[in-house]
């Protein structure tokens, strides 16, 4: 059946809702191949249809619908992956963890960098200098100024905004200002202990 591969691509994304599966280059290539083949066939039949043999019109129409469907599936696949990549910027900061990096292709990595840059430029424009707002932080209403955190990995020295240097060793407990730790909590380096 036509457009089978396109639908498979979309299904692949649908099944993997929580993570980003590897970029299915093969699948994309096959869809494009199919489109090319259908188009060539259509060109041949279309010229004979124009010449007057009207029985080709239905097959041209079917192929055209298949082409449109393929295009739509492919665009949906690519666009949906972009959406997930954008989400990653909000969760992980601007460096992707290596397992996600392995699953995205080069243009997607470029898009991620460009999106990060756009976002950074926008955030910079809100305030000035150190008073700009990092929109990826402050996701929950603040309850306390300081929170108790436990360090999960050997991080080393960490400097707070006030200039205090805290040495984050594995499994050490600290009482730190909430704003400073948010980025590290999001990455899993620190863990909130209630």
């Amino acid at each position: 059946m036509f457009a089978q591969k396109g639908v498979e691509l979309v299904q692949e994304l649908e099944r993997a809702r929580d993570f980003l599966p590897p970029f299915n280059e093969d699948g994309v290539r096959q869809v494009l191949e199919e489109m090319r083949a259908l188009f060539e066939e259509n060109q041949r039949d279309a010229s004979s249809a124009v010449a007057g043999e009207s029985e080709y019109i239905t097959s041209v129409h079917i192929r055209h619908c298949a082409l449109e469907r393929n295009k739509r599936c492919l665009m949906a696949y690519l666009y949906n992956r972009l959406e997930r990549i954008k989400e990653h910027r909000w969760h992980f900061g601007s460096v992707l963890p290596s397992d996600i990096k392995a699953n995205i292709c080069e243009p997607e990595a470029q898009f991620f960098i460009k999106y990060s840059k756009s976002l950074a430029a926008y955030m910079k424009s809100i305030g000035e200098g150190s008073y700009s707002l990092d929109l990826t932080q402050n996701l929950k209403p603040p309850k306390n100024l300081y929170i108790q955190v436990k360090c999960t990995t050997e991080f080393g020295e960490f400097e707070t905004e006030d200039g205090d240097i805290v040495v984050l060793k594995k499994n050490s407990l600290h009482l730190l200002p909430r704003v400073q730790c948010e980025l590290l909590i999001a990455q899993g380096i620190l863990e909130h202990v209630s």
């Binding site: 994309v28 494009l32 489109m35 090319r36 188009f39 082409l67 295009k71 492919l74 665009m75 690519l78 666009y79 972009l82 954008k86 292709c105 243009p107 997607e108 470029q110 898009f111 460009k114 999106y115 756009s118 976002l119 430029a121 926008y122 424009s125 809100i126 305030g127 008073y131 707002l133 990092d134 929109l135 932080q137 402050n138 209403p141 603040p142 100024l145 909430r178 704003v179």
Partner: protein, 231 residues
């Protein structure tokens, strides 16, 4: 939520900065607590409305100025003073509201990208825009990045007559018919609400301080001129 602004006035009294006043372009004077209250209202409205509302840039700028001043004042006080903690908490709360407000706007911009950019293009010069300059820049960059990406990976390799996407067909428009809870601030005598049929509309009167569940479409203009608030 109302307690936030309450705390702020108390603290400002404590510091003697009760009269921190900022000016907007229309020479309106807002006291600190009023600014925060207004921002909270805008924040709630933005969160609950299905479409993007007008940006409250002056409010945001004013409050950020406020927090900046407060932080600078804070530098002067020692950390162990309890007032420091309270004041700091206040700053954090204001920053949270502003951050959340801007974040919600960004989310809506990303969601309704095509629709908003279309409106921007069609907008006349004297009409106010729904996007700030920086937001517009962000939206345009995102749009062009997405298009380039789709072109590189897919469209470029497709047969020649299929290389364009008709973006008009694929944009999401906000659903202006979704229902929202409203709280009426001032009397609104004639509000048109559809009565279920496709053409019929009933006029309804909204009394001050009453609460209703209405389709967004009917009250969007009222929301704009601040007659109602969303809950």
């Amino acid at each position: 939520m109302a307690s936030y602004s309450g705390n702020l006035t108390q603290l400002s009294d404590l510091f003697g900065t009760a009269d921190t006043i900022s000016e907007t372009e229309d020479a309106e004077f807002l006291s600190a607590s009023e600014a925060v209250k207004k921002l909270e209202e805008s924040w709630l409205n933005e969160m609950l409305a299905p479409e993007l509302l007008s940006p409250q840039t002056e409010l945001v700028d004013c409050l950020l100025e406020q927090t900046k001043n407060m932080e600078e004042n804070l530098m002067a006080i020692s950390k162990s003073d309890f007032r420091f903690a309270l004041h700091r908490m206040e700053v954090e709360r204001i920053r949270y509201v502003v951050t959340s407000y801007l974040r919600i706007r960004l989310e809506k911009i990303e969601k309704f990208l095509g629709y908003l950019l279309n409106n921007e293009n069609k907008r006349q010069r004297n009409e106010p825009s729904l996007l700030t300059e920086d937001e517009l820049k962000f939206a345009q960059e995102l749009n062009s990045n997405t298009e380039t990406h789709l072109k590189t990976l897919g469209l470029r390799h497709m047969p020649t007559n299929m290389r364009e996407i008709n973006t008009q067909k694929f944009i999401t428009t906000p659903n202006r018919d979704s229902y929202v809870f409203v709280c009426v601030k001032d009397d609104a005598p004639s509000v048109l609400v559809s009565d279920g049929t496709s053409e019929g509309e009933i006029e309804v009167e909204l009394l001050k301080n009453s609460q209703h569940l209405l389709p967004y479409r009917s009250i969007s203009s009222l929301l704009q001129n601040n007659t109602v608030n969303l809950l």
